[in-house]
Assembly symmetry: C2
Homo-oligomer: 457 residues x 2
């Protein structure tokens, strides 16, 4: 008797979990050039030993793209975009277990990068592994594109895509991330925001000084603070002239979709320990600001003495790391130029701007075949209907890898509302990992059938 | 033939230098509770082995005060106030030699605390040691008061003085610090500023979050920045209502004294690598702001990710360390209350204030005997006339230890304009150290003669 797909996945669950645990033990922090080659070697090992398919390591100006095209006797192709780099683990003292030792507690597995993005990457490889146990020939071409620089702004991915347009081409893409909401519904997300990441800095005297000199020697910390607080008002309205000029307002269809999208305000507030959302927003206004509006966020700021107790010093250097999340229409290069002009016009010629990364926003239409196939898969396998997110507040290089080449992209995955991405105690639920393996295997079958029935050529 | 005082000091110069080097090898950072007991033991060793006088370690709620009363057959007393704690050494990477290994280069000795305040402390002990080699009986009672908490705001010194009013009593006090100006003139300083040191902090969600959430989750970093920039304007005018109300304006005599005080603007700018002073001030306005006006300075600020590269995070905590230098009339407790009221009135109820320390300003009149004696000593032993600083921009517990008890206090010492107090590569010139030993020995003689000639009782 032939085993079902889910039976095969169940029999291999310990193997797939071990892949995940091993992968999470590698501190692949691209920002700090740690564990990157080790990750490449690990992925080669998975392809060579288990998937039994050829894998390429395509050079870029930074870390290589891990690429595999598993050929099928089909005119159709599905592609998966994931990344093997992770965020830095600090503040390390807030982790309850070592960030690079996957640790199981209460049905969850904790490790840096397990939700973002190693859990999804491994689950998708596992789905293909399981399918090949049933039938060595997949129903559709499958392409894996794993980059190593997502957490540092995918700085070389656009060039990679330009140079390898044939390799990235597909009929539909499954994007890297995916989460369950606070009520347990699996979210299916369409589109991502863009990004401009900059570091602003100010310099003072040629050395730190005794703070008695603050009477007459300019303080770079104060200069930076005045420059920063000129960027937005206390109601979160960004004050850089022209910042909102190119924003494409959401269509009425998108607003309807936003109305259907479920966001449990009370559960979210309780989960995060907060009393209110920004500007006391609720309902549609809250969802609209979250999914369709840009941000100007301080990721980090530092100057002077920040250790124990007190030190009376006039620091000679101050810097802040800012990310602007952008929406369709906004060009990160233009925003960078507007930022410089604004600072100059406000008299902050002395504030230096270092561009760290930029990305355009992207948005996927809900009637694309890949979206419909994902929704069918999720509807068939979950107790609750999928929660469709008409745009995600996060960022990724979806424009550079997909939208620019006419490839629709959709997101779903192993994470949940409290996965703590980019934060201490990142985690996934173990069950969600196995469920995503099953759903990806099912999606690959459904997507082929949908394209064939639609007569796509 | 009887040796002169300076000959005795010259013969003992290597001994005194060794005391200094050994003392500087102890990382007595009170803020971090390092090396404090070791310092106490070292000072006991100097008193027992070399000075041959009894020393007391007077308990406080914090680190003990090191106290010695060297009795003389005289109705008069001179006291010396110094401290055996030092500032933290960070940023350590900017030091050219280890901060706690005194290192000689180009006639200077580099070490954390060597200018502030171990060089002065050792030079003054050395002066008494040398005098006793010539005559075991000093011409005047000498009291040493060395506290261990000056760099953390002298938090227990006021209580110590109240409890030991008899021990601190003297006819004149020599304060802990002293510097040569950029042209090499020895500064004689009268008075110090007060201080209010606070830490402001803001809290967000119960964990750091992915920065995509900055759309709807309040940022403690932005909250703190808006609160801070409400405290003063870009022209350095402090905006806390009532802040300037109690300021006692300098007298016309003090302004005249300020006119005589020499401040080499070009040399200072060149030394610090700056193009201008705050508000482009020059001349009397510059000197007045430096010596007679209060400040609001950021000693340190921190939030979120401040490591290499980029991390897209919405931090859940932000804090800043601020020091306000206060002038006569200003009460640190009242300023603290005004700060809280101001933040509340601006809607910043959520910003927490932690008081770290407070101190009143103090000012000494130039016609006090101790001031005249110091000026005569310096005039007799230096090529250039002393540069009299009518008030120092720095802070110290001069009010709590002296002014409150009617004891006039004056400052001069081993430092110079580029001693880098509270900053990397703190240093003194070796020659200045020996010169201060000679001058203190001379001052002790002159002060007794001056009091006797004035018929002080």
């Amino acid at each position: 008797m032939v085993k079902t797909m889910n039976e095969i996945i169940y029999e291999n669950r310990n193997l797939y979990k071990q892949w995940l645990i091993d992968f999470c033990s590698i501190p692949s922090v691209a920002a700090q050039n740690r564990g990157m080659e080790e990750s490449r070697v690990f992925l080669q090992h998975l392809f060579d030993t288990y998937i039994n398919e050829k894998v390429e390591f395509i050079e870029t100006s930074g870390y290589p793209v891990v690429y595999s095209h598993i050929e099928a006797d089909s005119p159709y192709t599905i592609s998966f975009y994931n990344h093997y780099d992770v965020q830095p683990e600090d503040p390390i003292e807030l982790w309850h277990s070592p960030p690079f030792e996957a640790t199981e507690r209460d049905g969850k597995i904790y490790a840096r990068g397990i939700a973002d993005n190693k859990g999804n990457l491994i689950a998708r490889l596992a789905a293909v592994h399981a399918m090949k146990q049933q039938n060595p020939n997949l129903p559709i071409n499958v392409k894996f594109i794993f980059e190593g620089e997502e957490e540092i702004g995918s700085i070389n991915l656009a060039e990679f895509a330009e140079n390898h347009a044939d390799k990235i081409q597909s009929d539909g893409n499954v994007w890297e991330f995916g989460y369950r909401d606070v009520d347990g519904r699996l979210q299916v997300s369409l589109g991502v925001k863009g990004m401009l990441y900059v570091e602003l800095s100010a310099e003072g005297a040629n050395t730190d000084l005794h703070s008695a000199n603050a009477t007459i020697i300019e303080s770079p910390a104060w200069r930076l603070l005045f420059a920063l607080t000129s960027l937005k008002d206390q109601n979160d309205r960004i004050l850089i002239p022209g910042f909102y000029d190119d924003v494409i307002d959401p269509t009425s269809e998108e607003i309807e979709s936003l109305n259907r999208y479920l966001f449990d305000e009370e559960a979210n507030k309780e989960q995060l320990g907060i009393a209110r959302f920004v500007n006391d927003l609720t309902g549609l206004s809250l969802k609209k600001k979250h999914l369709f509006e840009p941000t100007c966020n301080i990721c980090g700021i530092n100057s002077g003495y920040t250790g124990e107790g007190s030190k009376t010093v006039l620091p000679n250097h101050a810097f802040a790391k800012l990310d602007f999340r952008l929406v369709p229409g906004q060009d990160p290069n233009r925003i960078l130029k507007q930022l410089r002009e604004h600072l100059d016009n406000q008299g902050f010629h002395d504030i230096k701007i270092k561009e760290m990364s930029g990305a355009y926003a992207a948005r996927t239409h809900p009637n694309e075949a890949i979206v419909e196939a994902v929704i069918e898969t999720v509807t068939a396998s979950e107790e609750m209907a999928p929660n469709i997110v008409p745009n995600t507040p996060g960022t990724g290089p979806m424009y550079d890898l997909c939208q620019r080449y006419g490839i629709p992209s959709v997101s779903f995955g192993v994470g949940h509302y409290a996965s703590n991405n980019h934060a201490p105690n990142e985690n996934i639920r173990e069950q969600d990992f196995y469920k995503h393996i099953e759903q990806v295997a099912d999606l690959i079958v459904r997507f082929e059938q949908k394209l064939a029935s639609k007569g796509v050529e």
